[in-house]
């Protein structure tokens, strides 16, 4: 349990994890469920327990689509996507931890790929 990291994630996300009643609806509606090792409701619960490092090291932080389905549909207004983002930020803010390397981009481009995809990837995966 790392209290500093927990504090940081709580502050950064603005989420009150204690409101969660563990119904699992956020995970049920998550379009990335199959791709995630830890699901939205687990993010909320693990942050409550202070188990932040496990989440920070999981690929799940890059699998969230930022679709806000879990935010919209949580019956308790917990807003799990904000927790996922705060954990991702805690990871990529560390020096050398950018998830997207600019040199790798040219290979990913095709003639139709909209700029929107690139600016968003930068915003989500780099600091």
């Amino acid at each position: 349990m790392n209290n500093n990291l927990k504090e940081q994630v709580l502050r950064s996300s603005g989420v009150n994890v204690l409101k969660c009643m563990r119904c699992g609806k956020c995970s049920g509606t998550c379009p990335s469920y199959d791709e995630m090792e830890y699901h939205p409701h687990q993010f909320v619960y693990m942050v409550e327990k202070g188990d932040i490092e496990t989440l920070m090291e999981s690929k799940s932080i890059y699998k969230c689509l930022t679709c806000f389905a879990c935010v919209e549909r949580c019956p308790r207004g917990v807003e799990p996507a904000k927790v996922v983002e705060a954990v991702r930020l805690a990871t990529i803010r560390k020096q050398g931890n950018n998830h997207l390397i600019p040199d790798a981009i040219p290979e990913m481009l095709d003639e139709d790929l909209p700029q929107q995809a690139i600016v968003t990837a930068f915003r989500k995966y780099t600091k």
Binding site: E72, L89, Q115, V119, T120
Partner: protein, 265 residues
């Protein structure tokens, strides 16, 4: 004449020129004047919800403030710009701490605290023009066409900030389809995410999600899908493996109003 500040955003200037040109020619035909602010910047493509992220929110605030200074409501077309700008506007009006930090940074003549009204182009059609009036101006009707509206994730959520339509049972795009003479197709995936944002990170996932959306529309008998999002268009067309045609809603609008050629000049 109704005048609006018009924010095209980066993608409408490049890969999504159709979304932009048809929006402009149609607005003109409808008596709506769109004024582009001089030095707009890219909105960033995704809203950063974190409270300790200020720099990533500034470009959206600058756009909102330029509309405020012009004394005009702001219009967006791209779903992502719309989402980022509306969420920024919501947070700056509801989170004093964030508003203070942003304004310390920007040092505007007058602090910006959420004064601008933001419309998505579709909301402008509904609330300013009116779908009944739009209907009267249609010269090429889409009669007999079964059209599936794709909302995706960004147009409607989070509904407390976007306040565009009912997030689970939206009607705005279907009402638009009816106004141009088409028959709307309702299908399960219309307000679920196509996975476009993940296309550079995990193409397989983007393929899986987009195929699900396309198949869902096809099973309900759609002839075509319409969207407001360049990334959805790309993902649905390119990654899904489906042949179902995907168009920007503004292209159908321009066609219906008989100004499609004007848009292509």
């Amino acid at each position: 004449m109704n005048t609006f500040t018009y924010y095209p955003g980066c993608t409408l200037r490049t890969k999504a020129k159709d979304l932009d040109t048809y929006a402009r020619s149609s607005a003109e035909a409808l008596g709506i004047s769109l004024v582009e602010p001089e030095n707009w910047q890219c909105c960033g493509g995704a809203y950063t919800t974190a409270k300790d992220e200020i720099a990533t929110k500034l470009s959206a605030v600058r756009t909102l403030n330029s509309a405020k200074e012009a004394g005009q409501p702001l219009i967006t077309v791209c779903s992502a710009c719309h989402n980022v700008i509306k969420q920024t506007n919501y947070d700056i009006s509801h989170d004093e701490d964030m508003a203070a930090k942003v304004n310390n940074y920007l040092k505007l003549d007058e602090a910006y605290t959420g004064e601008t009204t933001v419309y998505h182009y579709l909301e402008m059609l509904r609330d300013v023009v009116g779908f009944d009036n739009l209907k009267k101006k249609v010269v090429n009707s889409f009669k007999g066409k079964k059209i599936a509206a794709y909302y995706g994730c960004l147009l409607l959520r989070p509904s407390k900030a976007l306040a565009m339509d009912d997030p689970e049972n939206p009607t705005i795009m279907e009402d638009f389809i009816k106004a141009i003479g088409g028959t709307p197709v309702i299908y399960a995936q219309r307000n679920e995410c196509c996975g476009g944002y993940i296309t550079m990170e995990d193409k397989a996932q983007a393929t899986k999600r987009s195929a699900k959306v396309m198949n869902s529309a096809q099973e309900q008998g759609a002839d075509m899908i319409i969207t407001a999002c360049p990334l959805c268009l790309y993902n649905l067309k390119k990654n899904s493996g489906s042949e179902l045609p995907v168009y920007y809603f503004t292209e159908l609008l321009a066609e219906a109003l008989g100004v499609k050629e004007a848009g292509n000049e």
